[in-house]
Amino acid sequence: MMKSGSNLEKILRAGHFAFTGELGPPRGAHAEEVRKKAAHLKGRVDAVNITDNQTAVVRMASWAASLILIQEGIEPNYQMVCRDRNRLAMQADILGAAALGIRNMLCLSGDHCLFGDHPTAKGVFDLDSIQLIRMVKQLRDEGKFQSGADVDGRPAIFIGAASNPFADPFEWRVQRLAKKVEAGVDFIQTQCIYNMAKFREFIRLANEEGLTEKVFILAGITPMKSLGMAKYMKTKVPGMDVPDEIISRLQGVPRDKQAEEGIRIALEQIAELKEMKGVHGVHLMAIEWEHRVPEIAERAGMLPRPVVG
Amino acid sequence: MRLSYPANVKIVLVPCTGKVDVMHLLKAIQMGADGVYCVGCLEGACHYNQGNLRCRERVERVREILQEVGLEPDRVRMYNLSSGEAPTFVAYAREMTELIRRLGPNPLKNSQPAIRVEEAA
């Protein structure tokens, strides 16, 4: 049964292999910057994630950048983190977003303030991501606020969440996914995958638990732009699992061919993911590389994107 | 071996430098002493394992405090030697005396603290 009527939901429910992109709003008030980045993504992906103060750095509000995308004829996937707002602000923003046509939402805990540009800010975390999922579902399906009071006008939101198959303890990752499913999530976008062996195992366990029949899973892919980026991801980004073989493949080509090698690795991953039982799509996080998305989409055989009425 | 050390050095005996407290050192300076230094056993050779190391930490703390209140941290120092090293003892006494001479008299000498201890009734 259709819950939000979003393009992403329609694509997934029709059984197509979904393809989503990502866009980080600017550190300023220029709508043009959003439009410029968005132009590369238009028609190449089914929906575009709009990050919410990503890595705890202040940026244009994700709902605002989401609206700019709607103006551009692109479907946003509005991200919301628990770090920056309490349950009142969250519910208010969700109602406002839904009223203005936002149909997908991704519920996240959010990086700690210590990482960002305001390290001494107070993290709110009134709810965690699982409690947020449940709250959105309750607004949508029961028409009740978190407090239990009635909502007049339910927000039609396709509810997403993240999953990191690579964070410890590995055996709990599928359990935590199960908790998100129980909370009411409709789709999952995973952390960037580099360790395919571990991801296969994660999906196998999720299949075994029957989770992949209850939730759509979009596998996260971020092409490596350089060897330096790969090394940084391997050593500096918590919860990221970059195997040595990725590093050595990038090391094995000249510096000016590293980006191409990074794209090739991503394409190989996408080809495998398309065939993987329990995977329903790919979420391409081309970080500050939006202009390469058309090429990657083309070479991955993702174009043209299906249109579901 | 009869070695003489500067007469301005007054020795306070403690069973171990681990017994020396921040307040002992601070009080000496507060009351007008020009300098205080602790002479402990060699590091790693404390009969009580950590006595001289604790003393060093306390000396460091007092040096920070002197900096904060506006006095030269070098008025308080820590030296280490073994008990058989009388010439080293004398050398440290001379070095400290020289150092303090260069720093000049403790400016707190000319006034007295006005601190009253309010005993709990």
């Binding site: 628990c82 770090r83 349950r87 805990s109 959010g110 990086d111 700690h112 210590l114 990482f115 993290g123 975390f125 009134d126 709810l127 965690d128 991501s129 699982i130 409690q131 449940r134 709250m135 978190q146 993240a162 999953s163 990191n164 964070a167 410890d168 303890p169 709990w172 359990q175 935590r176 199960a178 908790k179 129980e182 909370a183 952390q191 918590p238 919860g239 | 407290d21 921040v22 307040m23 601070l26 009080k27 300076i29 507060q30 405090i65 904060e68 209140v69 506006g70 006095l71 400016p107 707190l108 006034s111 603290p113 006005a114 601190i115 009253r116 201890v117 309010e118 005993e119 709990a120 009734a121």
Partner: protein
């Protein structure tokens, strides 16, 4: 116990710069154990203030005292009739004691000499680690005796988040991930079921000033003015 950290000396000196007679009041309980505000720390602070002010040629008269506790009226009463002789008081008690002292002597400015840093365990002499945020809704029964409110940097009730890093928190490799530890301990006890169900949104109880009256006790009537 409650732990506290001495405020930087400059900050204390600035608070009392206009005063010429100040009482330094310590507390003999928690802050004495954590080496921030007991008798010894009172003596050190008084000596520091004395020296700094004499060196600035702005000498100050000081009193020093350490009460058994500043969070109990009967001990504060020991200063009745004596505190009034001072222009100001610097209290080295925790935030609770400082306020109770200020309440007892409302005409005298009372300044904090320490920053109160939480409810902590004594790992070793001089080394304390926070363990409780006194949220008023203890969940330790389900979290293997490890507090997610205090020890998870995001205070998550359904962790661990995606930032857990080989058992460490994303904020610092030196900081253990509380939820990793909760999982490991519950697994060892065969009690992983404790965290399989969703913990619902917290009903926060620490958002208003709390008053606690134990069963069998009543709030005494206001003393007649």
């Amino acid at each position: 116990m409650i732990v506290a950290k001495r405020k930087p000396f400059d900050e204390i000196l600035r608070m009392i710069e206009s005063h010429r007679k100040v009482l330094v009041a310590g507390c003999g309980t928690c802050v004495a154990v954590c080496l921030a505000g007991g008798e010894k720390e009172v003596a050190v602070l008084a000596a520091e203030i004395d020296m700094a002010r004499r060196l600035k040629h702005e000498p100050i008269e000081l009193g020093q005292t350490t009460l058994e506790r500043q969070c109990d009226r009967e001990y504060l009463a020991q200063l009745d009739g004596r505190a009034e002789a001072y222009e100001a008081i610097v209290s080295l008690a925790c935030g609770v004691g400082i306020q109770f002292l200020a309440e007892r002597f409302p005409k005298i400015p009372v300044y904090p000499g320490v920053d109160t840093c939480g409810l902590a365990v004594n790992q070793d002499v001089g080394w304390y680690e926070e363990r409780c945020r006194s949220c008023g809704r203890c969940v330790l029964d389900r979290t293997a005796g490890i507090c997610p409110v205090t020890l998870c940097a995001k205070g998550l009730y359904n962790g661990p988040c995606g930032g857990t890093n080989r058992g460490s928190c994303e904020i610092d490799p030196e900081q253990p991930c509380a939820w990793y530890a909760i999982h490991e301990r519950l697994k060892g006890q065969g009690r992983l079921d404790c965290i399989r169900a969703i913990t619902p949104a917290q009903e926060w109880r620490d958002t208003v000033p709390r008053t606690l009256i134990q069963p069998g006790y009543r709030k005494p009537e206001k003393a007649k003015a």
